[in-house]
């Protein structure tokens, strides 16, 4: 079976700062992989490399068997030209820490944008998709609300619906609950859990260890740009092998 995500020897630097060092990961279709680690460990950068929002210096990235850039023989990575990249990205949903909803559009318009612009669907069909997805995330009564009239949790659920509207094979979550008030985190995690149960392939960067343990199929612990330890959640949380992992878990649990 083709891996949904396959990353080989990935390196990324910001100036002198070497953020990712020879990363190799693989995510199987339907798998939920959770990345944990202190801030600055490279987990968000790694996630953003998957859809090439961040362009690595070297390495290979495949999503569902298709390369995300030109893999030069010397190892250098060059992002594909926009035309190709847009098509690839339209198969990958991404949810951001700060929601990034389009503030000048209503909830339903946010969700309809990609179906109409990227998939060229007629308005009526896009609206159908939008209504279905907003209902799915529990926002049946908020179709025409502008983002500033929604709570953080509602905004993030609209953002999830928006990225599902392109019918992605893969969903990336970048600290999707970190900007939320504590009482709103649950509703977003529930939506993510529901997606996982439906068999969506997900790569999740999070500080919610409860979610990682309950929903994750596999947990990666990143430290200073490397995957230091990986395994089933019970293995990582109950019996961490590496001293750094033990340290980290002692602080967050």
């Amino acid at each position: 079976m083709t891996a949904m995500v396959k990353i080989e020897k990935l390196n990324k630097s910001f100036g002198d700062l070497h953020v990712l060092r020879d990363i190799d990961i693989e995510v199987a279709p339907g798998e939920v992989v959770v990345m944990i680690g202190v801030s600055g460990s490279g987990k968000t950068t790694l996630l953003r490399c998957i859809n090439v929002l961040e362009e690595p210096q070297s390495g290979r990235i495949f999503v569902d068997g298709e390369p995300m850039g030109i893999h030069r023989p010397d190892g250098e990575f060059r992002a594909f030209p926009d035309r190709v990249l847009n098509e690839r990205r339209a198969q990958i949903g991404m949810v951001f820490q700060r929601f990034n909803l389009f503030p000048h559009m209503t909830a339903i318009q946010n969700v309809m944008l990609a179906p109409t612009m990227v998939k060229n669907l007629p308005d009526a069909e896009a609206r159908g998709i939008g209504e279905k997805l907003l209902a799915k995330v529990g926002l049946r009564d908020k179709f025409d609300a502008y983002p500033n009239k929604l709570s953080g949790g509602q905004q993030q659920r609209v953002a999830i619906a928006r990225s599902l509207a392109i019918n992605p094979k893969l969903m990336l979550f970048d600290e999707a609950t970190s900007a939320l008030d504590p009482e709103l985190i649950g509703e977003v995690l529930d939506t993510m859990k529901q997606l996982a149960l439906e068999g969506m392939t997900m790569v999740v960067v999070t500080h919610e260890m409860g979610f990682a343990r309950e929903v994750g199929d596999r947990v990666l612990f990143l430290h200073e740009g490397r995957v230091l330890e990986e395994g089933k959640p019970e293995q990582i949380f109950d019996n961490p092998q590496h001293e750094r992992t033990q340290d980290f878990l002692r602080h967050v649990l």
């Binding site: 859809n51 847009n86 990205r89 951001f96 990034n100 389009f102 612009m117 500033n148």
Partner: protein
């Protein structure tokens, strides 16, 4: 005060003044439209990550923002033909000079407006597979334009006022016509008071309509 106002001079020559108003409006309008397009282009150049593209745009902007508009008008009218052999009539060269001036200010408004939009907005759009152009058109510009309206109107009001400089080069705009009228009728007080009022009405109605547009667009903020 002994002075007896005789606004009849304005009434008797209204057609003459109206011609001036028309020239003022067309010079301003022409400069505005050209300045808008050149300014958008320059603003985009300024946003380029390539220095060879952004730097020339910056030089242009600095040049036109840091020299007097009157000098620019005279340079285009008197000096440009020597340099290029391009023969323009006074109205054309004044419109051109004001447009070049305006585009420098417009470029900065476009650049500032676009840069004020959060990076996350572009990332969200691009991650959905929208192209750069679609992202600009559907996500960035609609938000940026709202923020651009107030400075844009300020510049337009300045342009209306700067346009009176063209009278010095013999373009028969409102100020020029008023000058002619005041010297032939010896009624400068009435004539110049009247045209000041005309400028005031034009500029305040511009500001006012901008406020209304802004209000209408701000439903989602």
């Amino acid at each position: 005060m002994e002075y007896k106002f005789q606004f009849g001079v304005v009434r008797d020559n209204w057609q003459f003044l109206l011609e001036g108003i028309w020239i003022t409006i067309s010079v301003t309008g022409g400069a505005l439209v050209v300045g808008l397009f050149v300014g958008l282009f320059l603003g985009m150049m300024r946003l380029s990550k390539f220095k060879t593209i952004s730097q020339p745009a910056l030089w242009y902007i600095e040049l036109f923002r840091n020299t007097p508009a009157l000098v620019q008008l005279m340079w285009v009218y008197y000096a440009l033909p020597i340099l290029t052999g391009l023969e323009l009539n006074a109205v054309m060269s004044c419109t051109l000079a004001l447009a070049l001036n305006m585009s420098a200010y417009m470029a900065e408004i476009f650049r500032g407006g676009i840069q004020s939009i959060e990076k996350g907005q572009v990332e969200a759009a691009r991650s959905l597979g929208l192209s750069f152009a679609q992202t600009m058109r559907k996500v960035v510009l609609p938000q940026a334009v709202r923020r651009m309206i107030p400075p844009f109107v300020n510049e337009t009001v300045s342009l209306v006022k700067y346009s009176s400089l063209v009278s010095i080069l013999g373009v028969a705009d409102l100020t020029y016509q008023a000058n002619v009228l005041s010297t032939t009728t010896f009624r400068p007080l009435e004539v110049f008071s009247f045209i000041a009022l005309v400028y005031l009405v034009i500029c305040t109605s511009l500001s006012y309509s901008a406020q209304r547009i802004e209000k209408r667009l701000s439903v989602s903020d």
